[in-house]
Point group: C2
Chain length 368, copies 2
């Protein structure tokens, strides 16, 4: 129940055991074509897409290094660990200005508007869903501001695309990145990237080689190919995971994810626990819950694993020891959620947290 890597369907795991396949042959061209179509579906885009053998960070770097240049001014919106990463990346390839918001709180869109008004930016970078804090940022509103100011809108959709509504074409998002081990429920190792037409036309090859985004897009679209040797098992797995997603339907997947998030929050509250973020911005793919006083993060999570076989995430950076995080994206089921909270309430009780027994499981069941 991590915020990625998430549970993977056996069909997806088995897809990787296909014996050696020539990645420059007809069979793999079909794999590439299927991956491309699947990515266009999950990104809900008629724009350009790429599949890059690497982590989500590799996808973000492909966007940053292929779109921006030294001297380009970028406004990076920061309210968590992963939006900080966008800033670090932008520092390497351009000239970022950080606009910070408190972790766990809603982003103030008016402040973003004022910053765009005041500065002469070429691009803005925003993390749609902050995995470190369990906050969903207002991408739609921010993209609209970008359009108004003719600024490229670069978004990290690593834990949103496929789990939270995201309409880059409609909203005017210029670049969007997903990670294979998140909402599409494939193993870790592949980044999906989408770019708008206007962003595509601005791609350059001056700063990137392996992560040259234009090379990846063009090879996939024109030749059903990849510029460098692909991670063959990941392409096979992602194709199968995207087939599963299509079978369920993106809207159904998002609705189911939303329902799981509701169950998760209700379970936390039933035990007297507080969500870390303001509930108005609480993410539907990952829930961050503050520890009650007296519960030690490491003891708690070790017992969950050792005694119940449940793996959840702790806090990162400044939130280490202060929160725990439950991922509920991809093919996570209500049964998984029930088992997770049954374990959590048992362990919390063992560690002395006073709460009505059975309340969390009951809360989950009320949402099932």
């Amino acid at each position: 129940m991590l915020a990625g890597p998430v549970k993977v369907d056996p069909r997806v795991l088995q897809a990787m055991t296909r014996s050696v396949i020539n990645h420059r042959g007809a069979e793999f061209r079909k794999v590439n074509a299927d991956v491309r179509e699947g990515l266009r579906y999950v990104f809900q885009t008629g724009g350009e897409v790429a599949a890059i053998s690497g982590s989500g960070t590799a996808g973000l770097e492909a966007v940053t290094s292929s779109l921006l240049r030294q001297g380009d001014r970028v406004l990076t919106l920061v309210n968590g660990k992963f939006s900080e990463r966008a800033y670090d990346l932008a520092k390497l390839f351009a000239e970022p200005t950080q606009l910070e918001f408190p972790w766990g709180k809603p982003m103030d869109v008016a402040k973003v508007a004022a910053a765009l008004e005041a500065g002469d930016y070429r691009a803005l970078a925003v993390c749609h869903n902050e995995t470190s804090t369990g906050v969903t940022n207002p991408l739609k509103e921010i993209a609209a501001l970008c359009r108004k100011h003719d600024v490229l809108c670069l978004a990290d959709g690593i834990t949103s695309v496929g789990g939270i509504e995201c309409r880059p074409d409609e909203w005017g998002v210029d670049a969007l990145v997903l990670g294979s081990q998140k909402c599409i429920a494939a193993p870790a190792g592949l980044a999906g990237v989408m770019v708008s037409r206007r962003a595509y036309e601005q791609l350059h090859k001056e700063s990137a080689y392996y992560l040259d985004l234009k090379a990846h897009i063009d090879a996939l679209r024109d030749d059903e190919d990849t510029p460098y040797t692909p991670s063959i098992p990941l392409f096979l797995a992602v194709r199968e995971a995207l087939r599963l997603l299509r079978e369920e339907g993106l809207e159904n997947r998002i609705a189911r994810t939303t329902k799981l998030a509701g169950a998760c929050r209700a379970a936390a509250k039933s035990l007297g626990l507080r969500l870390y973020p303001d509930e108005s911005v609480a993410s539907n793919t990952v829930s961050a819950v503050s520890y009650p006083p007296g519960i030690d993060d490491s003891t708690f999570r070790k017992k969950l694993l050792a005694e119940h076989g449940v793996v959840i995430a702790g806090g990162q950076a400044q939130l280490k020891g202060k929160i725990f995080r439950i991922g509920h994206m991809g093919i996570c089921s209500m049964d998984d959620m029930r088992a997770t909270w049954a374990a959590i309430e048992t362990v919390l009780a063992d560690l002395g947290h006073a709460a009505p027994r059975g309340a969390a499981v009951e809360a989950v069941e009320a949402h099932a």
Copy 2:
């Protein structure tokens, strides 16, 4: 029978089907530690190693971008498609000078010596085994020249490490890269990198993020971790493939690869075919064979696949249509070699190439 991806043992494929694993947990730390030890074994090094989720090219870029800077002079030795790639990479991050040699011919070490004498280079880039031409370049002699001139020796070992003798510590090679889908016989998607102590001390973080080599080395060594989300299935597969290699023993693997190469060359000659490279520099991991007059590359390879289920590679770039290439690295067996040449001689005969029937299989058997 491609020059990679190569045949993968079912044990290695099955290793990838391990269900979700937390890449920041104890179980995956052990995977990382095992991969590190396995890489140190196959690289025969006491130096630093990294495992990067990406292709061999990603490994080469990690070396180039983390060691060199704009303005650094690099001598790149070019005698094939993959050594050209080293030049392209160096252009992006430094100031390369190309020293060209004819494709398929031995490199003139005296010319390398003269170039190093004449120029003030910080580094030299060389491809140990040119997969595009089936030529093994004299890395040992070139590394010795680099030591003499105090120049960093950066080597592409993508189709040599694990199949052709390569002793970076002893020879004084400063950086060496392998690809998972080559001699270690894992699926495509992971690059192994080795750097010498002196190279390690010169690593910087100014040009790379995802491919920041120091970050990869340090995380793996100090924390049994990776700086970014690893391609989990590839780490599992590579661990298993390196275990298999260790069970066979590196020297035995290299000796077996050498024997397969001998069988392959003998089979080609028995049908009156010419090796593309000078035999003195013919590679032990990939054989490039010139087409006899009148044999069409595409027809030939299509028939091999359709009628015999045998996949071999064609020529690349200027060699397209002129040669075919057979990979014989990793866990390729003498049975595979026999079946391959049985198919080749049948198809060549069908296409009108006059040669004694059965000669190729007999030639392979003489080496078995």
